[in-house]
Each structure stands twice: as C-alpha cells, then as structure tokens.
Symmetry: C2
Subunit: 396 residues, 2 copies
C-alpha cells in the first residue's frame, strides 16, 4: 500500500474540497487546484442527501457512494475516514471507526460538548493501534509552528500575557440561512465558537497553554436571526498567573486578526495570520529590571518603550488556499503508512471544546468558571438552550 484511500463522510463545502484535493479533479471548470497529497487518494464518499448522490456519482464515476456512513466505514473501500459532518456526529463516527479498526481524521471541532469528546478520547486510548487525528490545519501555518517552537524552547522565558482578536469572518444572515442546522444549539451546538473560531481556540492553547479559569461575555444572536453566540469576549487565567483575552465575532465586516504574546524575553505579534514580528529583548526583562540605574530612567521613560533594548525579526506565511488541509491529509496518510508523527493527534481536540464549553457556561452563569468545566453541568445547560431555541423558533 503506497496510498491511503480516504472515505469522506459528508460531502458539503469542506468534504467536496477534500474530494478535489484527493482526486485532482476540480468540479469548477477553470479553477486551479493546489497539488494534492502524495500518499492519499479518494476511496469512497457518503452523504444522506440524494441530490448530492446524483451530483457526485456523476463527477466521480469510479468512486463508490454510500448513504449510510457505517456501510462506508465497513466497506473495505477505505483505509481511513474523514468526518465532514455536523459537529455532533464527529464523536459518534470517530468512536465507531476506532472500535472497528478504521483510522479516523475528525474535522474540527472535535465535538460540541466535553462529555462526548472525553468518551471519544477514552475509546481512542483503548485502541492505540488505530490512527486518530484531527483537522487542525492551521497548526501547519509556519508562523504559528515557529512561534510555538520559540516559546517551547524557553529562549524567551515565560508567557506573561496573550491577546487575540480574531474577527476575520464576516457572516451575514444569508449565510446562517444556508441550512437549518447551522448556528443552532440543536444542530451545531453553538455559533462562532464551534464553527469559525475552533482553529484559534486550538492554536491559542497549543501555543500559550491551557487556561485554568475563564470569565466570558457572549452576545447571542447579535444583529442576526439566530440564538447562538456570535460575539465573544474571553478573559482567561493560566497556570503561571498569566492573563489572556480572546475576542471573536462574525459581524465585523472590516475584520481584525491580531495575536500578541508578551514574554519575559520580549513580545510576539502576529497580524492577519500572515506576518509575525518577534521583538527579542537583549536580556530577559527581569535582568533589565535588576540592573537598570537611575540615570537610565529618563532614556527609558521618554518616548515609547526602549528601542535599544530589543531587536526585531519578521517572518511571513505565504501558504495559498488548500495547502494547509492538504498537508494534514498527507501527514495523516504518512502516519498510517510510515508512522510519521501526527501534526494534530485526535485527542488534542478536547482542549478547544473545553474552552468553548467554559466560555459559554461563564456567559450563561455570569461568573468566572474553572476550565475544564463540570461536563454534566455544561450538558444540562446546553439542553436548556436547545429547549429555548425550539420555543423561539415556534414563536418566529
């Protein structure tokens, strides 16, 4: 076996992109595809939608199409499965795959509530021989990889503060009306936190660590005809006492994406996920603090900061569209074929779900909560929102 045959469960916007990457066949004439993964191909497709069946059996004539995802998993036509389905189903499908020895690459978010994701992870621990990954494609962004390496190396010391504003996903009402499950408590389990921001919720924790406490304010259905959160402000505390903020919304038509991390040894700023600037202090701040003399004060206090104390380095990410997803598809294939380490082990998905759950619970209860939160409490509060949503819809 030199190529992994992927089975795609759910052939919507994301699933159809993967099909194109894996086959090299653009269904949009004239659309130029990036080079697909070398060690993977398309094995089968599944969807419950009859229109999609008609469409995709026409485009991919030789590829088996299933309407029952369990049939696809057990068909023998696939060496691995990708779950491009509504979020609630990720854990259900992953557990079935793991129990039947079929490698599974889950889409983000790993799930909607921590309880289900924990059960999936426990199942994965029982089946360590079955490959289990998650599509955290943004971990392949060279900027975030490099920043993580710098921070993990310790060369810039401990993190003191981190702030991310990530609003570069404008979603008007027409977007939310695309399908009935979208941006609902029942169908999707949340709004911007479960649909748009999971990558950043993952990257933030991948780079800066897992918060221990969360206070958050969410606006639900702000300017949109939905009941879920579409405007979020998080304040989180980390184990070493560092404080971070994370801001995201879907109504900002001008879009900001700016991550700033303040460390003992300087500062890192990433703008638009495209450009990173490292401000590297020549000594750790603690050492400057210890050694500065009264006569240095005027120099430092006049003007902004102290230019002479640091050097800057810039680097860029120029990855085109599709590159990141293809890298994860290839990595997961090579992991199965050759044991290449996973870019994103499937079990890592729980961190983003935990933080999402803590954020919503804090906003619902109007108080600071521990992270991870009590998963039963979260689940029962979520059920209340599902009930309320039904009543709201009935009243519309």
């Amino acid at each position: 076996m030199d190529k992994i045959r992927y089975g795609i469960i759910g052939i919507g916007a994301q699933g159809s992109s993967y099909a194109r990457f894996l086959t090299g066949k653009p269904e949009i004439p004239g659309f130029e595809l990036p080079k697909g993964p070398e060690h993977a191909t398309l094995g089968a497709i599944c969807d419950i939608d009859e229109d999609k069946k008609a469409k995709y059996t026409e485009i991919y004539k030789d590829i088996p199409f299933y309407t029952d995802w369990k049939e696809l998993v057990l068909s023998g036509n696939v060496d691995a499965v990708i779950t491009t389905v509504p979020h609630y189903l990720h854990t259900t499908i992953a557990i079935f795959c793991l129990e039947h020895g079929v490698p599974v690459l889950v889409e983000k978010p790993a799930g909607v509530y921590a309880k289900a994701v924990r059960e999936m992870n426990e199942c994965a621990l029982k089946h360590p021989d079955v490959a289990f990954g998650i599509m955290f494609n943004q971990r392949t962004n060279v900027l975030y990889k490099k920043i993580r390496e710098i921070i993990n190396s310790g060369e810039m010391g401990q993190i003191r503060r981190s702030n991310w504003i990530i609003n570069t996903w404008y979603r008007p009402d027409v977007y939310y009306r695309q399908s009935s499950w979208r941006a609902t408590w029942e169908g999707e389990g949340g709004g911007v936190l479960v649909n748009q921001a999971p990558h950043q919720l993952d990257l933030w924790q991948w780079i800066c660590g897992i918060p221990t406490k969360v206070f958050a304010k969410c606006r639900f259905g702000f300017g949109r005809n939905i009941d879920v959160e579409d405007d979020v402000t998080i304040m989180a505390e980390f184990e070493n006492g560092a404080v971070g903020t994370f801001i995201t919304c879907t109504h900002d038509a001008c879009g900001t994406d700016r991550l700033e991390i303040d460390l003992d040894g300087g500062k890192i700023v990433v703008e638009d996920s495209k450009k990173a600037t490292i401000y590297r202090l020549k000594e750790f701040e603690q050492d400057y603090n210890k050694n500065l003399k009264p006569e240095d004060l005027f120099k430092i206090m006049s003007g902004n900061g102290a230019g002479g104390m640091y050097e800057t380095e810039e680097f860029e990410n120029t990855d085109g569209w599709g590159k990141q997803h293809i890298t994860v598809l290839e990595n997961f294939a090579c992991h199965i074929l050759e044991g290449t380490p996973l870019l994103a082990p499937g079990t890592d998905g729980i961190n983003g779900v935990n933080l999402c759950n803590a954020t919503l619970l804090s906003a619902w209860l109007s108080k600071e909560v521990d992270n991870p939160v009590d998963e039963d409490l979260y689940y029962s509060e979520l059920q209340k929102r599902i009930e309320e949503e039904k009543n709201n819809k009935a009243g519309r």
Copy 2:
C-alpha cells in the same frame, strides 16, 4: 488682567515642567522649550521640601515660594492653582481653592477613591463661579478629539466593541524606589491605574462611554518590589451591551499602544497614539447584512473581510512633547479670562477614578462589579490594603 498667574503646588517632575512652560526659562541648559501658554504666567510656587525651596528660589528669583500650600492659595499672588502633588491631596487642595474662590486645575487622577472625588465635585457644584478643570492633556491629542467627534456625530452608528492595550510605560524597580510614597496603597492609592493609565481610562470613557459593569484581573507587584497593581486586564460592559477590554502594565519593555473600536459603520484603530485609521463601511453593517445575497457570500467569505465594502482614511498626531499640557494651561487661562469652554471640566475626573476603583474591587473580590462601585465598600477595602502593606514593609 490679560494673563493668569498660576500657583504651582508641588514642584516635582511635573510641576517643574509647568514652571518652565509658564516662564519660558529652561533650567536645563540647551534644552529647547516649546512655546508656553499666551495667557498665563507663573505666580508662585509651593513645596514642603527645603532642598526644592533652595533650588527654585535660585532659579526663579522673582517668584514667591511657599512651604504652606494654603498660604499660596490665599496669598493674592495667584489667579489659579495647579495641584502637582501626591494624588490623595488633589481633592483636599481643590476643595480649599473652590471654597476660597480660587480657580483650580487638578492633576490627574482627580483623586484616589470615588468618595473624596464626589465630595470635591459636590463642592464645585456649590461654587459654579469658580473655574475648575483637570489636566487631561491627552484630550487635546487631535486623534482622540477627531475620533470622539466622529463617534458623537453618529455617522458611524453605535459602538459594538472597544479594546485598548496600553503598555508603553516601562517602569523598572529603580523607578519605584525614587520616592517612598510612589506605588504604595498609602502614598499613591494604587499603581498603574492611578499613575500611568489615568489618561487612557479617561479617554476610553470620553470616547466610548461609561461602563456599567466591570470584571478585572490584576497582578500586584508582578516582578517588582511593590504591593500595588502593575498588570491589569479589564473586561467592561457598556449600557448598549457593547463589551470592551482595557489592558495595561508597567513591565512591557517593548510597549504596545493600540486602541480598536468596532462600530455599526466600520472600525477605528489608533496605534501608538500617533496614527489613526478609519475603516468606513459604505453602508452600515446592518444594511449589508440585510441586503447581501447568497451569490455575494463566496466573495465575502474568501480572504480577509470584504475590501470593497469599506474605504480607509488615515490621520496622524505630530504634537511634540509639552504641547498638550501647554494647551490645557492656555485653555484654563482663557476659560477664566474669556469664558472659553473647558477642554476637561474638573468634575469629569470622577469617571476615571470610578473605573479604577471598580477594577481594583473586582480583582480583590474576584467577581464582576457594578460601575460605579459602592464607594464605602471600596474605601474600606483600600484601608485593608494599606494595613497589609504596612505589615509587608515591616517584614521586608
């Protein structure tokens, strides 16, 4: 009378700058002074420090020098007073001036705790004929003035979110050791919130309104041998439901100053208090939301935001050092002489003090608080910190 004679109470770093502006006499040879206020001059100086008396009676031979500030106020040598003294004294001196009919320009912050500032403001209301201003010199920054005008005009609609990171004041331990009252609960009543950030606490509220709720985390004596807060993260809620964050610390040697305001009609970003960028949507976001069609979605969702939806305008502030303070000194003089409207009425000082008090109280109690807070509760909590500080000092 064509010039106001200012009496400076407290001739430290700030007071001596004002003396230079008012006399045009630099005590530092070769130092080029900006042009001073046209309608003001130096009437008298007061300080309790004998060394300063020796120094300044030598420099300003014709200017009366007092060691008792009440004597200066009542001397007949001054038409107005400036309070460049430790913050606790601002309200005491201002009340005395108001009661004796002497115009008073208080330094920022207006005071340390809301109770005293409220009493000062009540006194001012009883003496509407006595001019009462506050040195919010940064309100003269053309960027913030223009942004306030834009927002107040309503042309960009309501504010949805505001975020300010203001860390451009690196303060090492040697700074804190300059005088015994600095950065103490007893002497100064706080740290970065009462000393470095009052201008931004004022500007934020001057531009974005007064928060109704505050949740905050503070680090006390982080990396410094002090008991007060030197690292602050605020999450505030405003009357219209908008959420804002405000971040400030004194240990960031690389310094960030970035204000972002998101509105119905676009976005405003100010960097380093020097450059503002206005992203003006061609229609309000609400209208885009209403009118966008499914076929517009792909264009909007691909790439960052939607370039065609807005136009940008940039403007800069190029004010040199001293310009802002001189503008306030001149404005207050013209207010007395000709009734020119005040740039910053003295009573406005309470907003910054309230927000500072709410921030500290929230951090102390680890919960969200209303703004303004219960002033007696704040005062009693402050007294506890003063006691603890005494014990900590005794143990050092």
